[in-house]
Symmetry: C2
Subunit: 350 residues, 2 copies
Amino acid sequence: MVISVDAMGGDRGPSAVVAGMAQSAAKNPEIRFIVHGNRDELSRLIARRKALAGRCDIHHAEGVVTMEDKPSQIVRKGSDTSMWSAIESVRTGDAQAAVSCGNTGALMAMSMLRLRKLPGVNRPAIACLWPSVNPQGFNIMLDVGADIRADAHDLLQYALMGTSYARNGLELSRPRIGLLNVGTEEHKGRAELKQANDLIAAAAESGQFEYVGFVEGGDLPSSRADVIVTDGFTGNIALKTGEGTAKLVGAFLKDAFANSIMSKFAALLAMTSLKRLQKRIDPRRVNGGIFLGLNGTVIKSHGSADATGVSAAIKLAFTLAKSDFQNRLAARVAQGAASVDQGESREAAT
Amino acid sequence: MVISVDAMGGDRGPSAVVAGMAQSAAKNPEIRFIVHGNRDELSRLIARRKALAGRCDIHHAEGVVTMEDKPSQIVRKGSDTSMWSAIESVRTGDAQAAVSCGNTGALMAMSMLRLRKLPGVNRPAIACLWPSVNPQGFNIMLDVGADIRADAHDLLQYALMGTSYARNGLELSRPRIGLLNVGTEEHKGRAELKQANDLIAAAAESGQFEYVGFVEGGDLPSSRADVIVTDGFTGNIALKTGEGTAKLVGAFLKDAFANSIMSKFAALLAMTSLKRLQKRIDPRRVNGGIFLGLNGTVIKSHGSADATGVSAAIKLAFTLAKSDFQNRLAARVAQGAASVDQGESREAAT
C-alpha cells in the first residue's frame, strides 16, 4: 500500500506532516509513502524518523500552493507544486490514495482536472466524519463544500457514494441514509429535495442501503442515520457550525473550571474524565475530508492538522485503499446511473 | 405593559405556561397578562399563584392548535383556538406582544394572516439568540425558518430588522452585521449572496450598523459579528445543528464523568463548575424566537419550554415592548425600503 503525501501547504509546514507519517508508519508495517515537496528539507526531516527508514520515496516539487492562492490560477500555473505532484502519483497508479493539508479549493480543482470525474458523476463531493452517538462513533455527511449547488440527481449520487464510503470506511453493511431538510414531513423543503427524496427512496433496494427519509440538523450527531446527504453550501455551513459550537462549549467548560481554586482542584481530579471527553470530540481524530466521485482517492486533511491529525488522515487513506474502495465506488455509481437512466426511459415509455 | 400569552399547545400543557408567567410576575411588578385557553382550567391554575393575583385577564378559547396541525388548515379553521386569540390581542392593541409555545408553522401562518406584513417587508423572518463569546453573551441569527427562500432584498431587510432587534433587545447601539456564507472571500457563494453583500454594505451608514461582510458557520458563536443574516433554510439547519452538537457534547461529558467511582467523585466536586457551564449553554435561558416583519411582536417559545423557558420568552417580550420595538422596527424597515427604491431609481436614471 502506497500513500501519496503532499508535505507542503499545511499551516504547520512539512515537519508536522512528516511527524504524522512517522506515527502512521510506526503503527502500520504495511504502509509506504511517496512524499512531495522540497527534497532537501524532506530528506532531513525523514532521516530523523526511524519508523520511516526505507519506506519513503521523495518527489521533488519546487512550488507550494498557499491558502491564499485562487483555485482558478492554480489549475493553470500549478504544475510545479507539491499538491499537483501528489495527485499525479494517484493518477499514474503509483499510489492508491493522496493526502494533503493544503488549500481545499485548489486541491479540489486540481483533482478534478487531473483525475477527472467518474463516469456517471455530475458533481463530485467532499464527505466528512461527524462524531455521533451511533455504535461506530461517527456519521458521514456529504457534500460539505465541493460544490455550492446540487440538484436531485446529484443528491442521489451523494447517497450512493456515501453508502460506498460507509461500507468501506466504517464497515457498515447496510448504512442508513438521511436527506437533510428543515423538517421530517414529506411536504417540507425545496422542490429539489422532494424530488431527491423520491429518487433516493427508489434506489434503496438496488443500492443496498436503508433510506430513513428527511432528517434535521439535530440528527447530524444522532443515531437516526449513518450518512447524511445535503448540498455543499448547506453542508459546509452545518460542518462549521458544529465545529464552532463544540469549540464554544469547550471554551465555556474551561472558563467554568478556571473560576475558583476549588473548581481548579476539581478539574485536576476530573482530568481523566475530561481527557476522555476531549478524545471523543477531538477534531484531529476525525481528520480527513474525502473527495468522492473522481478517478482516484484524495483525502483533504485540516490545514492546521498536527502529527495526530495527519496520521488520522493517512489511516483513513490506508483503510480505503486496502478495501479497494475506489473500484467499488465506481461500480456503485455506474450501477446507480444505469438504474436512473432505466427509470427515466421507463417513464418516457409509459 | 400587557403580554398576551397562548397558554395551550405547548408540550407541557398550560400548567408550565402559568408557572412561567408567575416567575415573570414575581420578578417584574410592571407586567400584566391576557391569557388565552380553557377558562376553567386557567382560572384554577392562576388562582394557585399569588404573584398572578389581579394581573391576568382570561380570554376563553375552545380550540387548541396541536403540533401535528398543518398551517394551511389552521389559518382556515383555527379562529376558535387560543393561538388565534393570543394574536388577536396584539392586533387590537390590547397587548404589546404575544408569546406562544405552540406549533411554529401555524403560529407564523396565523400571525401573517392576522397581523399582516409591515410595509416594505417581503418575507418576515424568525430571529433567534445564539450563545456567543461576545460581551452581550449572545448573537442574533435570522432567518431561522420563517421561509425557506430569501433573495438579496430579503437578506437586506433581515439585516435592517436584525439591527433593530439587536439595538432594542440586546442594547447594542451600533451592531455588527455578518452575512452567512461558505467562505469570507468576496467571490464565494451563490449569486444572491454576492448581490446581498453589495446591498447590505451600501445600507450600513444610513442604517447605523457596521457591516463585517461574509461570515462562516464557525462565526455564529464568535465575536466577529452580533447579527448573522441568512435564508430560513440554511438558518434552520444551522440552528438545529448547533443545538444537536451542544446536546452531544453534554451527553459525552456526562458519560465521561460517569465512567468510574473516581470520576463520579470528581464530578461531585466539579458540580459548581458544571452548573455554571450548564447555565451558560442552557437553551431555556435563550428561549424565544421572535417573528420580525409583521404589524405586531410575536415570540415563539420552544414547544418543550418549562416554567424557566416560558419566563425567558416573556421577559424578552416585555423588554421589546418597553423599548417601543415594534414602532422602531417599522420605521427602520420603511427607511431601508425607501433607500433601496431611491438607489434603484438612480440606477434606472443613469
